[in-house]
């Protein structure tokens, strides 16, 4: 093990977590991966738990670099069931070899959640000596052998779809299973290929990127990446023009847009080579990068954020954290408060307010995160 769990937590609790961690981590990684001067490739074992394959499909949707360039120049994709030639025993042998001979020399990428109910028997991958191996067992074996973990997609980062109430298979996130390795979380349903590849290239060339409190790279998910703040429909919001039905012009707030609580740069980056993104298409943001996605009963995907029920600016600010908790531990709740304030006051947006609220947001992030962690065991 490269660094202790305690050290890891200490590093991660710092505001410049990524920089500090990469200094500990990078030289060893580069040696192990046979990478010199930022050249060479990252060895990747891409394991799939309870997934839909949307994450690997999104990964190969990459435009620049193309998927083949990534395979040739950025990573060595040792194992990925969707793409690899090897099948059956040949595939299992790759996992066994990586776990025994390449210990500490590869990055474990995980998509999909890991079910722990029924001793993990709700997701099995391959056989060893005639016995089925559960995804849970593989995560322990590969997690121990890996240098670090990159959880890809909302299922692997927070539990996602399988973990939605009542979580029938007790589906867990990668960080719930692997506790002794650095984990980078790249949420999204699916994540944008640029987020996955950008993070891997950053690790390769510069070490682990700066991460927020939820382990997400701030370059893609930082506090300045709130959808609502970067939305091209913002002008309609500021003008108080709301779409009342699908296909109408206007801000999608009334149709349930989760932009005020969603952290990612989709609004400026665009999906699928930039041809479109969620709110531009007319389908309101679902907040798919957040631990709240897809939420439980009572917080429907097309229901207005509960914040809009709160009747007045001062009350909203006072209740910002409460609103977040009601959403199931949402991050960036002060932004939701801000949105409400705009909806109600319908005044010209002013920059000072925005700056103030961004500061508040980082405070409430911590509070929301704590709430969320406490809620997980229930």
């Amino acid at each position: 093990m490269l660094i202790t769990r305690k050290k890891f937590l200490q590093v991660f609790s710092g505001s410049i977590a990524g920089l500090a961690l990469s200094n500990l981590w990078l030289p060893k990684l580069l040696g192990a991966a046979d990478v010199k001067n930022g050249k060479g490739r990252l060895p990747i074992v891409w394991f799939q738990g309870q997934n839909c394959s949307g994450c690997p499909v999104s990964f190969i949707n990459t435009e620049y670099p193309s998927a083949d360039e990534v395979l040739i120049e950025v990573i060595t994709l040792e194992y990925n069931p969707t793409i690899m030639a090897g099948t059956g025993d040949v595939a299992v042998a790759v996992l066994e070899r990586m776990a025994s001979e390449e210990k500490g020399k590869f990055i474990l990428v995980v998509d999909g959640s890991i079910p722990i109910e029924a001793e993990g028997n709700y997701c099995n991958v391959g056989e060893i000596n005639g016995k089925s191996v559960t995804a849970l067992e593989w995560m322990q074996i590969l997690g121990n052998a890996a240098m670090a973990v990159v959880a890809v997609g909302t299922c692997a980062t927070w539990g996602g779809i399988p973990a939605a109430p009542p979580n029938p298979t007790k589906a867990m996130a990668a960080r719930d299973i692997i506790k002794n390795k650095p984990i980078i979380n790249i949420p999204g349903c699916p994540p944008h290929p640029d987020w996955i590849i950008g993070t891997l290239v950053h690790v390769l060339k510069y070490g682990i990127p700066a991460l927020d409190d939820l382990g997400r790279p701030v370059i893609f998910f930082g506090p300045d990446k709130v959808i609502h703040d970067n939305c091209e429909l913002r002008q309609y919001f500021d003008a108080g023009q709301f779409a009342k039905d699908f296909g109408e012009k206007g801000c999608l707030y009334e149709l349930g847009c989760k932009g005020p609580i969603a952290h990612c740069d989709a609004a400026t980056r665009g999906w699928n080579s930039g041809v479109n993104w969620c709110n531009r298409s007319g389908g309101p943001c679902l907040g798919c990068t957040e631990p709240t996605f897809p939420g439980g009963t009572g917080s429907g995907l097309y229901e207005k954020l509960p914040a809009v029920q709160v009747p007045g600016l001062s009350e909203i600010n006072a209740n910002a954290n409460t609103i977040g908790i009601a959403l199931g531990g949402a991050v960036g709740v002060a932004i939701a408060g801000h949105a409400v304030a705009r909806a109600i006051s319908n005044k010209k947006f002013n920059k000072k307010t925005a700056q103030k609220e961004n500061i508040k947001e980082s405070d409430s992030d911590n509070a929301a995160e704590q709430t969320n962690t406490e809620g997980e065991g229930k």
Binding site: D68, G88, D89, S281
Partner: protein
Amino acid sequence: MAETIVIDPLTRIEGHLKIEIKVENGKVIDAFSSGEMFRGIEIILRDRSPEDAPMIVQRICGVCPQIHGTGSVFALDEAFNAVPPKNGRLIRNLMLSANFLQSHILHFYLLSALDFVDITAILGYKGMDSKLIKVKEWVQADIDAGKKDAGAPFLPRYEGDFYIKDNDLNIHGIASYLKAIEMRRKCQEMLAIFGGKMPHCQTLVGGGVACRPTIDNLTAFRSRLSEIKTFIEKTYIPDVIAVAKQYTDYFTIGKGVGNFMCYGGFPENDPKTEWFLPQGLLIDGKMEKFNPDNIAEFVKFSKYSSPTGLNPYDGQTVPDYKKDGAYSWLKSPRYNGKVVEVGPLARMLLAYLNKSDSNITALIDGALNALGAGPEALNSTLGRHAARALEAKALADRMEGWIDEIDLNGPVHTKYTIPQKSKGKGLTEGPRGALGHWITIDNYKISNYQAVVPTTWNGSPRDDNGVLGPFEQALIGTPVSDIKNPIEPARVIRSFDPCLACAVHVIDVEDDKVYKFKI
């Protein structure tokens, strides 16, 4: 003495599949197909708003999310009594067909080609194509450096006398594989032009779609379609034929059950009575009209203790993962008690026999002519690949018409209010075959949700009479030249394009509650 071979995980498919076969005298004499992963998506849907269903069910499968979303909005149209405006139907068709093209191209190249094309042929490449030179140098450098993982993820693989020997054809195959990566990406872009993003689009809603057509959208869509259509015509179909000519034994290997079913794909009107891919069945050599009441699900060999032989309308699901003799989480759906195969082969055969579309008839006749084979050769491993490629072409041709029919100023959505109590069903066709979603609404919430999907039909275990499912029947008689490298059965199963995440989705492991689906 029969030997048992387990292929687990069967990679290059969607999801977690285990195949167990018994081999005697070099041939498969028995086969078991098992789904290996469960999430419980229908249980997660219960008590949620019906509006959430299309977005949640897309996450059943990231390769073919669009058909789950489409089946779900069809069910909502009915439940909400919200008939979509013409633009709504057309844009749904365009989005779904873009996903068909993506899925079909992905399947032949990324999921199947490595069973035929010899990737190591790249080492002998002497041409000037910059991409191919890059691939060659990449593999060569890793081999020279003595790396165990040289060529990963394209190596290691099953080793033996399995792969194409004509090096020019191999090089061409590798070039096509690289081109296919780009083409399928453009299919995703095409869908995202209306859908916002792919996988998992944003704009499928009951009563229509949430996106508006604009002239720039239609132009961008049409431009990509034209490029993809050329790829299908000039590369995909010729490549399937070229591979077929190298593996003519696969016109008999993987012969299926011979019964085929199609629910009807791509509505040409609303409410839906006419379909671009015609509804119907071919049972024991005779054409039949489709009646959903004839579907029953059997569970003798499935890990459920609930009653067997129920129509999905009244289906019950009591999981019992330790049930004696049971070996799969898939139930065994049967039509009038008969095993049926679903998918592009079923659709193309039914369209051909119905003579419903002269273009499809001409395409199939043309392909059979090029191969020097009769229609009976279609019921095979290669027949499934060929049908998929021809369907891609037929669909790409029809898509241009749907674009032309769009009214730039017309409505896209019919406003609805969620009813207190209602029900609805969406039966249609996805890339992998017949798919049905059923929703029951009570107190404005989902009280029951049920999905019976293509791989549930194709990958089903034995039914109560011990009759093997379509995968299993297709495996019987398949030669296995080397039990350590069983590539032949893997080729047969991949030709069906299995989607296991889709097939296994109903499970409750918390307790032994009986879930009833009465619709």
